[in-house]
């Protein structure tokens, strides 16, 4: 069971949500959620390393075109795709082997939270770090922290929904 159709629909939904909703959301300049990274986090547990990297680049390229950021999203999401197996190992260990998607079931909430914070944090750090190129250090730092928090909450809600729908 690879749930190919579910993942294709999920991909389209994530791209549309990011481009039409989160890119246009004017909350505060400290919170800019790069929500689309949720797709890389919830890919099947048995996705290969090459597959993760390719999905990261593909998703990043599409977001680059919609946001008008040449290469910036690729830098961030290729790194998330590349780092995912390692981070999964550190945060979830062996629990994950019995699951198809990396949320719920044998995986406890604490492990998933750690997994999401590390990967979302990495993603937002690379994105905002390269975006500001070192200027406005404290502003960028607070933007990274606050955006990561908001995105992790959104990832959590999405993961719960996704598990319910696909099970």
């Amino acid at each position: 069971m690879q749930r190919t159709i579910e993942y294709i629909l999920f991909f389209v939904a994530v791209v549309l949500l990011q481009a039409l909703l989160f890119d246009n959301l004017v909350l505060t300049r400290y919170v800019v959620p790069l929500y689309y990274v949720v797709f890389l986090l919830l890919l099947p547990v048995n996705t290969g390393r090459m597959g993760l990297l390719i999905m990261g680049v593909l998703l990043g390229a599409i977001m680059d075109i919609t946001m008008g950021t040449p290469g910036l999203n690729i830098i961030a999401s290729a790194a998330v795709g590349f780092a995912r197996p390692g981070v999964m190992n550190i945060s979830m260990g062996k629990d994950v082997q019995h699951e198809k998607i990396p949320f719920g079931g044998a995986i406890d909430n604490k492990s998933f939270l750690l997994y999401a914070i590390i990967l979302v944090g990495l993603h937002q750090t690379l994105f905002f770090g390269f975006e500001s190129l070192g200027s406005h250090f404290f502003f960028t730092l607070s933007k990274i922290i606050l955006s990561t928090l908001v995105t992790v909450v959104l990832v959590w809600i999405t993961a719960a929904l996704f598990r319910k729908i696909t099970n």
């Binding site: 039409l20 246009n24 290469g71 790194a79 590349f82 502003f139």
Partner: protein, 269 residues
């Protein structure tokens, strides 16, 4: 031989990853505002129509505020018209032709939180909108200029973009400098290259100087802070933007008939 293959398989992903990152970082750091605008022009073909429709729904909620602004503007223009009519009676000047032509447009996509912000308007090449046309808010404040156009849409570079530049001067002391944005807060921009002896005070109005993009005398913002530059030869002025970039909706596009002539004359120097 088998061992070599296994080794290759093992390092393929890390090597590919490093390669992708190097290429992406190289592309990103070398990209200009024009590259960014090009990407947005591509995605606009797909998303701008949807965003325009969504915008249409939210419009109904802003109608009242919109009406107030328009009524104020009507009143202001009526007043000016009255003055002109009176003058015309008195002097009968030859029919004056202004080199500027204004059209209205709607903002269908906007951003303020990035370090290089753009917005997209719903007029393009088919509406005679081209690159390097000034964009003003309905109140007449400077907000940006067009940079890349498709048939029905144009991507505009916002004042809050690190590649944005224009000339600005104080209405009180007439010293000219250049306007730019250093990133961070989109409500505050910089006026640099002001001689250190120039006299500025908080609250002074900063307006545009004439260029091939901008008509002269359009309000950019007001002086908030005034400090000497690092080498103490010049002064940096922090300007609070008059236009609220986060609420852009209706805008004016300004075509300068003499723009090309102006640009070609100046490009020689």
């Amino acid at each position: 031989m088998n061992k070599v293959l296994i080794l290759l398989k093992r390092v393929a992903v890390p090597v590919l990853f490093v390669l992708i990152e190097v290429l992406a970082i190289g592309y990103y750091t070398r990209a200009t505002s024009f590259t960014r605008a090009r990407l947005l022009t591509i995605s606009n073909r797909v998303t701008a129509n949807v965003e325009g429709a969504l915008r249409g729904v939210s419009d109904y909620f802003a109608l009242r505020e919109e009406n107030d602004v328009l009524m104020q503007r009507v009143a202001y223009l009526e007043n000016r018209l009255a003055v002109f009519e009176e003058n015309e009676e008195a002097v009968r000047v030859e029919e004056s032709s202004t080199p500027y032509y204004f059209t209205s447009a709607r903002v269908v996509k906007n951003s303020v939180f990035g370090q290089n912000n753009f917005f997209t308007i719903n007029k393009g090449l088919l509406d005679d909108v081209e690159g390097n046309m000034a964009i003003l808010s309905p109140e007449g404040y400077v907000v940006g200029y067009t940079i890349d156009c498709s048939e029905h849409f144009s991507v505009c570079i916002s004042v809050a973009n690190r590649d944005f530049t224009m000339g600005g001067k104080s209405t009180r002391s007439e010293y000219m400098g250049s306007i730019s944005w250093t990133g961070g807060d989109w409500r505050r921009i910089q006026l640099t290259d002001i001689p250190y002896y120039a006299n500025f005070a908080p609250g002074d109005t900063i307006v545009s100087t004439i260029s091939y993009r901008f008509p002269p005398g359009r309000i950019i913002g007001t002086v908030e802070k005034f400090e000497p530059s690092e080498d103490r030869m010049n002064s940096n002025v922090v300007v609070k933007l008059a236009a609220d970039l986060s609420k852009l909706d209706k805008v004016l596009v300004v075509r300068y008939m003499g723009g090309e002539e102006f640009e070609s004359l100046h490009s020689g120097y």
